[in-house]
């Protein structure tokens, strides 16, 4: 519209051009195809590692460009990263605890003849 792309003192945030968003969308769709293709090959436990790595790249693209993360300050980046750190602590905590707990074994009932 009237102001176009220029930055006047009136504008409160960073204006990102639509063309950049389109490039990000194409990258996200290509990465989706890569995820589906990679899952067709049996790589054992590396399948899930690869799938989560690609998902994290996609999530980073969404946060960095679509959600304007690139233009945000340190406080907002703290808010972005803290839940992921907490998730890592939670999963780490569960896996270093639960598999090592002793569980009562089911009672074997044998019939005497």
């Amino acid at each position: 519209m009237a102001h176009g792309n220029h930055h006047s003192h009136d504008e409160v945030g960073h204006v990102v051009p639509e063309s950049l968003f389109l490039k990000v969308l194409i990258a996200l769709l290509v990465l989706t195809v890569v995820t589906v293709a990679a899952a067709q090959v049996d790589l054992g436990k590396w399948n899930i590692v690869g799938a989560l790595a690609i998902a994290t790249v996609k999530a980073s693209l969404v946060i960095y460009f679509f959600m304007h993360g690139k233009y945000e300050n340190r406080i907002i980046w703290t808010y972005i990263l803290i839940p992921f750190i907490l998730l890592a602590i939670m999963i780490g905590g569960v896996f270093t605890d639960d598999p090592f707990r002793s569980r009562p074994q089911p009672v074997q009932v044998t019939q005497q003849s």
Binding site: E11, V12, V16, T32, V36, A55, F65, F66, M90
Partner: protein
């Protein structure tokens, strides 16, 4: 009389200082518009952090249940319709793109652009829900739906329980996101409310929609691909 005049002139001075224009929302008078924008956005990101933690509990459950029931998860994930899941992924990614574009349009004062792009995101949300319903119906036909059509549900109860919890909660977020885009994006834009000086609700609504997309980016490979 003189006092009134003073108040009026001081209001005018405040208005001058904060660059308040006719048609600006009333709260813009209370705060410098940049401060209000920054505070609103910080609050939204804090809320989004709690949303991520809500799903984090489910991702953690998924991780530990998959660890204990690996073969069940592997078999059960093959019962999901990969084509429909991939279609929904593409639909959500595209809707996220149009939501991001809507923010740029709002910043340029293009209210019609906000309506158009949020409208596309809204329609994509509807498509997502229709596809999800088709998937749930398919599961029900194969007896893998909890409580009612559950002849085969208990063979895969650990996977399917998490599948319905995670996708169900995600679908609820899709519905809320669509409502947010309509109430805070499309409807005010119909009254030409947004400009480069005030577009906070459009950006916050778009942030919520991106979160919905972000969660699905992780749900799709975990549920449909690697089980």
């Amino acid at each position: 009389m003189g006092k009134d005049k003073d108040v009026m002139s001081s209001n005018a001075a405040v208005a001058e200082h904060h660059h308040v224009a006719p048609g600006d929302p009333p709260h813009i008078h209370h705060m410098d518009s940049k401060t209000a924008y920054g505070a609103a956005k910080l609050g939204m990101w804090l809320f989004l952090a709690t949303e991520v933690l809500l799903f984090a509990v489910m991702f953690c459950s998924f991780a530990i249940m998959r660890y204990y029931h690996l073969s069940e998860f592997h078999d059960a994930s093959h019962h999901l319709n990969l084509k429909l899941g991939a279609l929904n992924t593409a639909v959500l990614l595209f809707s996220s793109y149009t939501a991001a574009v809507a923010v740029t349009k709002a910043q340029r004062g293009d209210n019609k652009g906000v309506i158009r792009n949020f409208g596309i995101s809204f329609a994509c949300g509807l498509i997502f829900l229709v596809v999800k319903t088709i998937e749930y119906t398919g599961k029900a036909e194969h007896g893998m739906f909890p409580f009612v059509w559950n002849e085969h549900f208990y063979e895969y109860k650990n996977f399917l329980g998490l599948y319905y919890c995670m996708t169900g909660l995600h679908a609820l977020h899709v519905i809320i996101g669509m409502a947010v885009m309509y109430i805070y994006g499309i409807r005010p834009a119909m009254h030409n409310r947004y400009s480069g000086r005030y577009y906070t609700p459009v950006e916050l609504g778009a942030l919520y929609w991106h979160l919905v997309d972000l969660i699905w980016i992780y749900l799709f490979p975990l549920l449909y691909l690697v089980g």
